[in-house]
Assembly symmetry: C3
Homo-oligomer: 221 residues x 3
Amino acid sequence: MLWFASLFCCLILAQDIGNAAETEKPSETQSCNPDMCDLLREFGAMTEYLRAVETRLTDSETRLTDSETRLKESENQILELRNKEGTKVIFSAATGGGDRHIGPFNTDTTLIYRTVITNIGNAYSPSTGIFVAPVAGAYYFTIFLHAGGSNTAALFLYKNNHYMLMTHDFPTNADRADTGGNAVLLQLQRGDQVYVRMAAHTHVWGSDYHTTFSGFLVTQM
Amino acid sequence: MLWFASLFCCLILAQDIGNAAETEKPSETQSCNPDMCDLLREFGAMTEYLRAVETRLTDSETRLTDSETRLKESENQILELRNKEGTKVIFSAATGGGDRHIGPFNTDTTLIYRTVITNIGNAYSPSTGIFVAPVAGAYYFTIFLHAGGSNTAALFLYKNNHYMLMTHDFPTNADRADTGGNAVLLQLQRGDQVYVRMAAHTHVWGSDYHTTFSGFLVTQM
Amino acid sequence: MLWFASLFCCLILAQDIGNAAETEKPSETQSCNPDMCDLLREFGAMTEYLRAVETRLTDSETRLTDSETRLKESENQILELRNKEGTKVIFSAATGGGDRHIGPFNTDTTLIYRTVITNIGNAYSPSTGIFVAPVAGAYYFTIFLHAGGSNTAALFLYKNNHYMLMTHDFPTNADRADTGGNAVLLQLQRGDQVYVRMAAHTHVWGSDYHTTFSGFLVTQM
């Protein structure tokens, strides 16, 4: 009779374990003695179950650590891309000068483009005429000149102390104009200077629209 | 004797718990009564074990939530970079016009470059001659002209209603040609218009190869 | 009396389970017989607890798998962006030629710009004068010429066998110079060739500074 009650109780227990999430706990008044071996079997099964859960957790932790490492690397690469994308160096300037000629002067002179059209990154100085590379990279520069024909027009583009390219035209009859231009892609280190020199005894037309100096960062390197 | 059996059974149990993943469950026929305190000890140990597992799980959940947040942020940043990289605005067009002069006209006229060489993004309209910025950013524009010497050649680049730069040359002896060009980097808002006006009483050579208008998005801003 | 001891023991047990992480296990000498139903109740509660832990783990695994998929996709997109950002194609070259005219020749001739100023990516060959697109994309090209006035100066920019644009000027009085330039954005496939042809019976000034050919990859496509 006691054994029967015990068995009955164990069936209840089995149901309890099987439906632990859905059912109420046995009432406080229930009092019984299930077969100990059933309990041990359930206990063993639960231990096994817990070990399986722990194994899965360990796997998840490993995967999570791996993901975190990859995510950190991705974040670093995104940051690098964003920094590159966010580094904007873009300028255009004209000589200004009130619609009259600038020059001729007796010596080569740095031509200052005083009318800033665009100067994103402030790498070009309209007070010195000098562009200073804020980051290492490849930059595009282009110059255009307009000048009356009474004098030679000759501009030189410099990288630091090196003359890189020029545009010029010889004098011609009085009312004629000369135009010219050139362009170059330069690889610059941070701090490299790029500027335009006007040759001695030459001139360019000074306005906000004609004689221009433009440049931009094509790519960081 | 009963106590001895009980102890023996508990050793089996301990082994079971210790090797739950590797060993079979106790056979159905096993029937025994281990010391209750051993079972309680095992039960307590398993509870502790489960709590430790839960603590690790909670840690993992926290790390996972953190990773998900960072991943979402990375995805947003990648999307932004891809959108920027994917926004391509690039055009080149020539006047066309069948190898004869376009102009002179009695008034300033928007010069329509009808021969499209490249028009990625369709921001330039070959029917109106107007470029409309599809996104805010810095854009590079360059114009070149070719013209016979019998008339002045004069082109103005406009941003909306503002005259930004020009290239021109005066008339000269009949069979001579004039060439000219200029370039500028402009910061535009979405919808800003850039186009070229030809001055009244001037002309340019109309062909698919000489007088050109080009531009591209350097960087979104 | 036995029942009382049993109850007492179960209170100890309950405390044990409740504070498993903080308290010591019951001492080896403790020997008692708690009410079996208390134990069953605790066992059921622990099973429920374990199931809840497993449910959370399953959720975490799902989230982790989802994160890993998204992370892989992000990594692929970053790789693509980095590849694009890392593909640098940038060149500038001048004819060189020792400060004398190149040409005139009796036939159209590919103009070889022998003085390399910049050649990132080595897509331009200073021995053939030909630029070969290493990747599909939109490229910017610009040419400038300088020439004495005694002959026509005429340069044609080619994409593969197609003449795309030109710059030229007619001869004029002996000591005068001609300048000219043009620019174009071209969509190229990998392997497309871009180069400059000098028209028969024309010439350009050969120096390291005047007559130039530049180009760069604006964007991959």
